[in-house]
Structure formats: C-alpha cells, structure tokens
Amino acid sequence: MNTQPLKNNISSYIIQTHEEEIKRIAMELHEGVGQSLSSLFSGMQLIETAIEQPAMRIYAGDMKQLLEKAIQEIRLLAVELHPPTLTTFGLISAIKSYMKIYTSTYGIEVEMENLGIESQISDRDSITLFRVCQEALVNIARYADTTKASILFKWEKSMLLIMIKDSGKGFEVEAAMNKLSGLAAMCERMHLIGGNCTIFSKEDHGTSIEISLPLY
C-alpha cells in the first residue's frame, strides 16, 4: 500500500496548522497586548503632564519609557513571528521588510532583484515561499561567513523562480542534507506546495539555492 500521499497530507496539515497558530499569536500580540500597552502609554503621558511633584514626574517618565520599550518589543516579536505585510502587500513586500531586519541583525547586505510582475498567490504558498527564503538567508548568516548575499525573483507566466546566492564558504550538499535538517525541511516544504528547491554548493565556492513554484 502506498502511504506517500497520506504522509504528504499529514505534513502539509501540520505545517499549515503551525503557521495558522503562529499567525494567531502574532495578531493577538499586535492587536491585543500591543493595543492595550499603547492605551496605557497614552494614559501615562497624560498622568506625567499632570504631576506637579518633580520626583514623581521623573518616575512617571521612567514608567512611560518602559512602556515604550514593551510596545516596541511586542511589535517586533509579532513581525518576527508572522510578517503582517505578507497578506496585505504580498511576498515581495514581506521579503523587503525582512531584508531590512536581516541586515540590521546580522550585518549582511542583501541585494534584491525582482523581474516581471508579481502574481497573486495563495496564503499557504506565500508563507511557504517566505519561510524557505527566510531559512536560506538565516543559513547564510549562520554558516556562510560572508558579508553579501543576493536574492532574485523572476515572475514568468506560469512559474515563479527564486534564486538565493552567496559567495561564502559553501559546503558539501549531500553531507549537509543529512546533517542539517533545515536544508531538507526547505526542500520538503516546497514539495508540499508542488514546488521545487535545489541547492548547489561547494566548499569555498559559495551557495546557490533555486526555488521554483508553478503559477496557475
């Protein structure tokens, strides 16, 4: 009995449920906790201006600063969990936002090129493509030992091609696929949405990851 389609369905279901849960937590943080903290911040601003006693006024100011930090933390955490621009503005916009965070986190500059017109793709496909690109970029920060990377999007009539390249230290693909579950997971995630992911790399010769997804 061939159980492969069933396995794929289960993997797909688990990933989708996981993503939905992440999205829900991100929304709750942003629109629930984040909004409550913003209201508290406005209230604290009012209180601060109304206080006449200098010492208490300074104390209220410190509390306001702490609230500001907490609001920023919540916002960033929500964006890290699930990019809000993905659903509203699409994949390219979400990747551009992520690239800014990526460069300021790891110091690696990413050059991006977008060829063709962005097609509308389903939420499930968008989040998968985003996560695979994110994993590829994170791997560059973790292992490549390089200062630059590039990402190319090519929108064709019936196919989306994405190429992520770096000129870092590279690795032996076969050995790494067995060792690093992240690489295998990238390919698996692409297969689950009917796409493909191929990794080319050689020690001291950088890495190139080609992702493709049929567009219907």
Binding site: T105, G107, T147
Partner: protein, 153 residues
C-alpha cells in the same frame, strides 16, 4: 543621555584607540565597543579592532537581546566559551559572534552616570577561553573607558 556618534569627531578617537589598545594588550582576536543609540533603546557596535569585515557596523541589537543587549540590560559581564555550544538560546541570537567567527568572548558593561550604556567585548576565534587575568584587564579597560566617556559627554 545622548551619544553624538553620528559624526566621528576628534573626541571619539579615544574609543577607537582604546579598542586597539585592548586588542594589543590581550590575547584576543577581536575587540568591539557597543553603545546604546541616541534615540530608542537599541544598541549598535560603533568601534572595533581586529575585525575581519565591516558587518559589526550594520549590526543593531535590541535592549536585552544579543550579547550587547543582555550586558546592558543586566549590567553584569557575560562570558561565552566554545560558541556555538554552551549558550542560552540559539546561535542566531549572537550576531557579533557569527559575524566575526568568534568561539569565546568576554563582554563587560560600561556605565554612564551609573547606568549601563555601553559594552566592551573581547573575543577569540579559537576555543581557548579568556583567562581570569585577561578578564580583569578587560574590566579595568572598561573602567578607563567609562571615565573617558563620562568626561567627554
């Protein structure tokens, strides 16, 4: 408080020189100085010596995150040995270690008016830990930098 670090003025040369001096004095491979930004709680690496690339200039960490963020938020030194092993959290939470390919580091807070506002980090690209005597030297260097910082700003 305001660090005028947007323009590299003459007053800031001591910080760069201090990094170079610490690098010469210690058995380290990298020395970095991070300071909390003028606006907001974020922290950036402003000066370095022994760096292999310029990634540190683009790295900004949040208050409480990364080595610099944690040292500033706790106000206590932090020691890392055998990175990426023996760490709290993920290796990706330590961008300066990844950027400079460091295996060991010792980072100490630099106080401004009694509040931690900066971090002096000494790192090694080998698994050999930073010795006790070097840790004391790093703490002394941080104290000197503190004096410099408090007299300049």
């Amino acid at each position: 408080m305001e660090f005028n670090l947007d323009s590299k003025s003459k007053e800031e040369q001591p910080f760069k020189k201090a990094c170079e001096y610490v690098l010469d004095e210690m058995n380290g491979d990298f020395v970095g100085l991070a300071l909390q930004n003028r606006k907001g709680p974020d922290i950036s690496w402003h000066y370095a010596a022994g760096n292999r690339n310029d990634k540190y200039k683009r790295i900004t960490v949040r208050y409480g995150k990364g080595i610099a963020g944690r040292v500033i938020s706790t106000g206590t030194p932090m020691k890392i040995e055998g990175f990426p092993n023996n760490i709290h959290g993920k290796a990706l939470d330590y961008p300066i270690m990844l950027a400079e390919n460091l295996r060991c580091a010792f980072a100490v807070p630099i106080q401004f008016k009694g509040v931690p506002k900066g971090v002096l980090l000494v790192g090694k690209r080998t698994v050999q830990p930073i010795s006790e005597s070097d840790q004391h030297k790093i703490l002394d260097a941080a104290k000197k930098l503190e004096k410099e910082l408090n007299s300049l700003i």
